[in-house]
Assembly symmetry: D2
Homo-oligomer: 312 residues x 4
């Protein structure tokens, strides 16, 4: 299907459930996709950071993307992450995504290598020319250690290299400067700006962002859809109240003990434990070498789901 421009609403970055033997669990993944579509999301984002793309081999990535596209069944567009170090490698993933029927590709700045704004811009231009799909820039400095500043993004928006940006930088000041400039240059109806924040979505929408890509929407898609609709209708205090509830729920990502595991183990483990407790997926395992959540952490997750009104 074709991708709306701009893309608005809630675009969850899907978790990738595994079987106990570590295979992609396509049944659970389809169930997750179904639940998200039922809740009213606008699109699905497969193979993002929440989807453990960094942990999946090429085979696993392919399986997961196929499953999401099949589950979406043309009802909502599917964006596919093409997460890799530099241009040639990203292009390989992007071409696979195109071949499998994805509606757009999402790529970060180069990483592992020491890069430069000129190289980052050239990277996106080469990606855009190399694959015939709308291209979203994924701004995630915590992973790639460079920031997609407005001065990098605006020329790429102006010449239609980029269809949009997913801003997971947490830098809401830079997001605002970007939005102000996007509007000033008359690009607001063609260049999509999505926040990747889970915690300041109301503010980002008030600032003019088109939508949101929240990992937490795996767990509470209906909450994010309500938040988005309150905002679109100008019910800002209700949007903020919904955001507050979701911010409290977000503590499921910090249930793991930081002395025992990394942030990915705790965050993705929290999402998957919740999805298991909600009966959406069969097995809460995250990919190796992430550390599984302990019993106490899972209990915390359950309690937060109860407090958040998602479990009785």
């Amino acid at each position: 299907m074709s991708l709306p421009a701009p893309l608005t609403g809630v675009v969850p970055p899907l978790c990738t459930p595994f079987t106990p033997t570590g295979e992609v669990d396509t049944r659970s993944l389809a169930a997750l996709a179904e639940r998200l579509i039922d809740a009213g999301v606008s699109a699905l984002f497969a193979l993002g950071s929440s989807g453990e793309a960094a942990y999946l081999g090429d085979g696993g990535r392919r399986t997961a993307l196929e499953a999401v596209i099949e589950a979406a069944d043309g009802r909502v567009p599917v964006l596919a992450g093409a997460i890799d170090m530099t241009t040639a490698r990203v292009l390989d993933h992007a071409r696979t995504a195109a071949e499998l029927g994805a509606d757009a590709v999402v790529a970060t700045a180069p990483f592992y290598t020491r890069t430069h704004p000129v190289e980052i811009a050239d990277h996106f231009r080469r990606l855009r020319h190399g694959v015939d799909l709308p291209l979203f820039a994924y701004d995630i400095p915590v992973s790639v250690h460079s920031k997609l500043t407005p001065s990098i993004l605006l020329p790429l928006a102006a010449d239609a290299t980029l269809a949009g940006v997913k801003d997971s930088s947490g830098d809401d000041g830079a997001l605002r400067r970007l939005l102000v400039e996007v509007r000033r240059r008359g690009l607001i109806d063609s260049f999509t700006v999505l926040t990747g924040s889970e915690l300041s979505v109301d503010g980002a929408l008030l600032a003019g962002a088109h939508g949101v890509v929240p990992g937490l929407a795996n767990v509470d898609p209906a909450g994010f859809v309500r938040l988005y609709e309150h905002a679109r209708a100008g019910r800002w205090e209700r949007a903020a109240a919904e955001q507050d509830r979701l911010a409290a729920l977000f503590a499921i990502t910090a249930a793991g003990d930081p002395a025992l595991m990394g942030g990915s183990s705790s965050g993705l483990g929290g999402f998957k434990a919740a999805l298991r407790l909600l009966g959406v997926i069969d097995c809460p395992d995250t990919a190796a070498p992430q550390v599984p959540l302990g019993e106490a952490a899972v209990k915390t997750v359950r309690q937060l789901l109860e407090e958040g009104g998602l479990l009785p």
Copy 2:
């Protein structure tokens, strides 16, 4: 005067104008303070980062603080920055502030040294016991290279070590989590949460922050007061529009060429160039070893003031 709890509204961190020979220009500083009070700010913050506290000797700090307190003349409270590396040094500044009649003290986590959350908490407790003034924590990781997380701040809020926090971290996600917890623990009427952002104030207020400490309010205090009042009255789209205008104006901080100067030279130089162009201060110099803005940068500042409606 006594400090309201919580402290709300716009609390500008005053620039410190200099004479051409590098002395604190108390006349210009008084004029700046007067202009801010006229615009309806709630309090004045002297000796913050925007006040070039890092560049002032103890004598200059004392002169600047005295001038601000005198200019405020009891009409609004004066918060005094006590910016130094660790406890003993901060306490010396805090005692001077108390002696000069400041209404509150603002201090960062220890810096220069490699610190730890336990030490940061102990630092604030010792400061609070060592000087009889309300104490605000100043969260500014870009300067001190550690972050005041909710888990550090909440116990210090609960036991009244801290009267509040000025969050200049730019991490609006953490700000949201802090606000949600402050409310949940019933501390929202006693513990003040101020955002130091210039660019996402509408979102921070929507999230429940009590007020804002924007460096840009040196230049456009009335704009921030309007933004604050729109927010308080629930006119969120108007607040956002005002924020958009201010975000465009904020480009004055990026007028300097980053190849030629540091971020402080460009940012503080932009504020001071604007204040000079507006006729508020006599001399736009920043303290050594900052690099002065060149002519082209000053022209950019003038143009932005015109576009922002501050110059005809």
Copy 3:
């Protein structure tokens, strides 16, 4: 061939030459390998950072590794980089390396994701169990943003998970602490410690390192072999003099203008420009999106080769 334990001497991380159309130039790569073996290196390291592994698709990686193994022809062992984000992906590369006949695999800590020492250790254990080749840890914080500390490495050395480490951290203090502990635990004859530094090889050998993996050895392999042999023979001042000459030559990596390109473009571009000027490879191109060196930079490289005695 089987890998000596410990592995000693000079182990160059081979550049990967390209044709003007961006294919791996296997003829030039073979010529480079031949020149290195002639100079007396102990082993070849293919697909490291100097080999632009981050820029090569899987096909290019395979072609480059095959070419190096074929060129080595059993005369020296070939170590193969398996650079990827996390365990499953690294394992795919490691298995390919095994299949192609590499003598050892070199892998970093997980990157892109937020990891933890426990996860890093598990990562290496899983790699070791998943492929039947000696495994070297590649400590390169500038790329992966975590450091392989002695406390991570020592248990992995003790239980023979790791055959050795390539330390490209530049942290010679940590290298010393590692070496002291490796000796104290009686592991010095089984666990190989290689420095990845180009600039403090004499000191690292004096501290007891077994060998060196210098990118600059692409350009001046004989110099590094001499440096190594002086050190082994206890001629430390002569080793230092050779190191000084090589340190001056290393300026070829800084010939590119940092305002115009990233560190990778400048460093790898400098190596390749030198190899072209020396007549070893046909085309100095680096992989996209790296920025090519300009004429002035190439002239600087030529001059440094002349000053270093490599060009008349």
Copy 4:
């Protein structure tokens, strides 16, 4: 007394002992200075990071510097740290040092503020013009978050702004590049290069550094003097063996539990616990808000002193 140019040998950065009530313990400080001079050090460095300068108020700094100068009694030169955020504040400390009779001043790049190489150079030039004492640059990125690169230092060496540099960056590659250039420009007999490393002193001396400023020399000055003399006499393997012993002893800085305290608490606490166990100082306290070492850590320190041959 006048400072030799270049300054060579071992220049310990003295710890600052405290009384149980937190005052500078001048008796213990004098005893420490005496022990260091007896061991054959070339100069004393007061008010460095090891001297807890960041934790001392101006009064404490003055007391400590006076005590060291008095104890040195003209037998060895005394270098005085002037650690503060920017030029004006550093100058105040530098003038006090001159007034008290220090033989040289040691200052870092600006910190807290966002700075730039041009500003750093101007900072040192203003310091040099503002106080009539030889000026050493203190390169300590872990504290000030910028690096004094060769391209910053070399012009300041060439025009005699700087008498030398204390390199505590741990970046031995940059140290080598600096030394190579200092020699090439004929500055090696006028510009002093001291390494601040405790762990790669043999390598730094082999590379041509003039001397060393090791915090660990508070505890084992004789060891560092032996190391230095072996190196000067070309007995490199004996220098390395001494360095190995000292590297093992350096573990006293890691006796504290990193989950409970910061690096400063553990490192300086280790030095002071050792000095107390050796009977040099009366009280092992570090300044607030550092966390004291627990009993287990002190036991570890004792054991390491025994293993290092410093305690029976």
